[in-house]
């Protein structure tokens, strides 16, 4: 004999007890709330749901319930009006979940009764499509993608490292990308600085990068800071960002950034490049070592040639800049193991990756317990003024 929808609901009502909105609400207020599972479709959930409820669309209930609750857990199922949740209740009972009830009147009655409800921030349909390959990764998911969209990353330099890093961070949907560079695009940059183009030679690098990023991903708010980082502007600059990606081309800027990142407790994602060799690390202020734990002093200028003097393989910039983008995303999402406490050395010619341990230096003049951290004249210091190598070496040994 065929059974109608009403027959099924009546049978379900006999098996699955119903809970009234007022009873569920008072139990929640008393801090004795059963687990609420909302079995509606995604679009219904997105328009509002009971705070703290877990969302499992009806069609996924059987396959996902075990990951959310065991068979002894007290569960209240909820849908729009209380019918789908009743039917879902019979399914859970069949699966051995004995303590299952259905919310009478569902979310509609909950809302009409004046109970609080959440309207979640969600990705738009366009964003869900654009970032679908991120959303599929359990470590990222929709929540992680929303976090990236809320994140702000400052890139020091829109050059060899900044180009690939900015490109991939923009593609990843990092919502705010700041670019600090006072230089203009030169034809000799294009062998490696892939965010710029031949027809933008002569344009400020920040503006050129803005054009590329906006064409790639309109979700990104690009902020161009067309100046050099100095001790007068660095603290205000860092205050507006969650992570700094250091792609500077000189030691004074790198040491200044290290000290400013400590002062503002901003994670610093480091990389440097020369010829076929790249270094990368992550400096988490006061949690891991800082740049000065690793390199207490810069080498003298004759031992520190720039890429402009010694050359650099264009592809190397892509590898190292993308390692920085990768580490920045991990820091923002709080996932995985970053390079904090490790220095990664990439030799593109030998195609080897070497990892060195970097530890916090208890005598670090920047982040050690006795450090008095204040800005110095980094240009003079890096040029060797005021430093006496023999004394320094003795102090370090």
């Amino acid at each position: 004999m065929a059974r109608s929808y009403q027959d099924l609901l009546a049978a379900a009502r006999e098996q699955v007890p119903e809970v009234q909105v007022a009873d569920l609400a008072s139990r929640r207020e008393a801090g004795d709330a059963p687990l609420v599972i909302d079995v509606r479709e995604q679009a219904e959930w997105d328009e509002g749901h009971i705070p703290g409820a877990v969302h499992i669309p009806r069609s996924f209930l059987e396959s996902r319930i075990a990951g959310v609750a065991g068979p002894d857990r007290e569960i209240v199922l909820s849908c729009a009006s209380g019918n789908r949740s009743l039917l879902a209740g019979t399914t859970l009972r069949e699966m051995g979940y004995s303590n299952v009830a259905s919310l009478a009147g569902g979310f509609q009655r909950w809302k009409q009764s004046g109970q609080p409800y959440d309207v979640p921030r969600t990705l738009t349909p366009e964003q869900r499509s654009r970032y679908s390959r991120h959303v599929l990764i359990p470590e990222v998911g929709e929540e992680g993608q929303l976090k990236l969209l809320d994140s702000r990353v400052l890139l020091i330099g829109a050059g060899g490292l900044g180009s690939p890093a900015a490109y991939y961070l923009a593609a990843a949907g990092v919502g705010t990308i700041g670019l600090v560079d006072d230089d203009v695009v030169d034809a000799s940059n294009l062998q490696r600085q892939i965010i710029h183009t031949t027809d933008r030679v002569g344009m400020p690098k920040g503006e050129s990068a803005r054009i590329a990023i906006e064409a790639l991903n309109p979700d990104v708010d690009v902020r161009v800071h067309q100046f050099r980082v100095t001790k007068d502007n660095v603290l205000d600059l860092l205050a507006d960002y969650d992570v700094v990606v250091d792609g500077a081309d000189n030691f004074p800027t790198r040491y200044l950034l290290n000290d400013a990142a400590l002062m503002t407790r901003t994670p610093l994602v480091h990389a440097s490049i020369l010829r076929f060799e790249g270094h990368a690390s992550v400096f988490l202020p006061y949690e891991g070592p800082c740049y000065r734990c690793l390199f207490p002093e810069p080498p003298p200028p004759d031992m520190a040639p720039s890429c402009g003097e010694a050359g650099v393989l264009g592809v190397l910039c892509g590898v190292m800049g993308n390692i920085q983008a990768n580490e920045a995303i991990k820091v923002l999402l709080g996932i995985g193991d970053t390079l904090a406490g490790r220095l990664l050395i990439y030799d593109a010619l030998a195609m080897t990756f070497t990892e060195l341990k970097v530890r916090r230096d208890p005598d670090c003049p920047a982040c050690g317990p006795n450090a008095v951290l204040e800005f110095k004249d980094y240009d003079a210091w890096c040029a060797g003024v005021g430093r006496h190598a023999p004394e320094a070496a003795g102090a370090r040994a």
Binding site: G162, L294, A393
Partner: protein, 92 residues
């Protein structure tokens, strides 16, 4: 014999070599063997007083010798000694 890895900025002083096999039972002895082969490297790594410059890091395998026994750190056959000055390049 241990392997000594020469960073790009020191290769000109080390006859263009990237890696050398050198004898020596301590970091200091290995470095002396390096200076003997390539005398121009000495001034780039050490002060006239014989101390390593503060801007040069030396790693035995993956550990900074500063945290071991500095120049007296023992080196065994097959170990790798890596010389590492900071590099600044990035944007330019």
């Amino acid at each position: 014999m241990s392997t000594v890895r020469i960073p790009p900025v020191l290769r000109a002083a080390a006859g263009g070599e990237r890696e050398l096999e050198l004898p020596g039972g301590t970091v200091n002895e290995v470095l002396e063997a390096l200076y003997e082969r390539h005398p121009a490297v000495r001034a780039q790594l050490q002060t006239p007083e014989g101390e390593l410059h503060r801007f040069v890091n030396v790693y035995l395998n993956d550990e900074d010798v500063r945290l071991l026994s500095w120049l007296d750190t023992e080196v065994s056959d097959g170990d790798t000694l890596l010389i590492l000055p900071a590099m600044a390049g990035g944007a330019g």
